[in-house]
């Protein structure tokens, strides 16, 4: 990790129950990554439901608009990292195997460490 880089950690708390709240975090994360900022998104509460296999291809933040997968790929293509923790998966009856590839499992301690190491934490 580049010690000189600026960092933003996003926290996504809503999931498939609120499609209209699903895409913004990926927009902003991609925009930050385009500024060479190191970006992570931590999915908690209902957030992990967005990472289920099949969801990104199907979910539309705006009816008739691009799928969530489009915005997710845009962010990941720029190096944005996705994090979940076990209790948040349990809350949604999910296992790591139910999620898309490339999601990193962390714990509460690691989350708080990421938050303290980041220049800003932004919650949705």
């Amino acid at each position: 990790m580049d010690r000189d880089a600026r960092r933003i950690l996003y926290v996504q708390t809503t999931g498939t129950e609120s499609p209209e709240r699903s895409a913004t975090v990926f927009f902003l994360a991609a925009s930050a990554a385009a500024l060479d900022i190191e970006v992570g998104i931590y999915f908690t509460q209902f957030g992990p439901t967005l990472l289920q296999r099949g969801v990104p291809e199907a979910l539309q933040a705006k009816r008739g608009g691009a799928t969530l997968g489009h915005f997710m790929d845009q962010a990941r293509d720029l190096g944005v990292r996705f994090y979940v923790c076990q209790p948040s998966l349990d809350l949604n009856n999910l296992k790591m195997g139910d999620l898309i590839e490339g999601v990193e499992m962390i714990g509460g301690a690691a989350f708080n460490n990421l938050a303290l190491e980041a220049d800003r934490v932004i919650c949705f």
Binding site: F27, L28, A30, S31, A34, L35, D36, I37, Q74
Partner: protein
């Protein structure tokens, strides 16, 4: 600045936030340090976004003009 000094042109006319800044970020990484990219955009949000891009990345916006709703930026890769 003459046309000859422009390494490439990035046409983002009609594209909305955050696409222009993402395309610019990739384009800058694809040219030599010191090279200049001409970027065209119609999203009014691209003006403050380019200021943020310059401030956060250190790459320089050498020139900014607007004609008939099209913004034209000249961006120089700094590092």
């Amino acid at each position: 600045m003459t046309k000859a000094e422009i390494a490439s042109t990035l046409d983002c006319r009609g594209l909305l936030c955050p696409i222009p800044i993402i395309k610019l970020s990739k384009a800058v990484k694809g040219v030599e340090v010191g090279a200049v990219i001409e970027m065209l955009a119609t999203d009014p949000g691209s003006v403050p976004d380019m200021e943020a891009f310059e401030k956060q990345t250190g790459h320089r916006v050498l020139d900014r003009t607007e004609a008939n709703g099209v913004f034209r930026f000249l961006v120089q890769r700094a590092k």
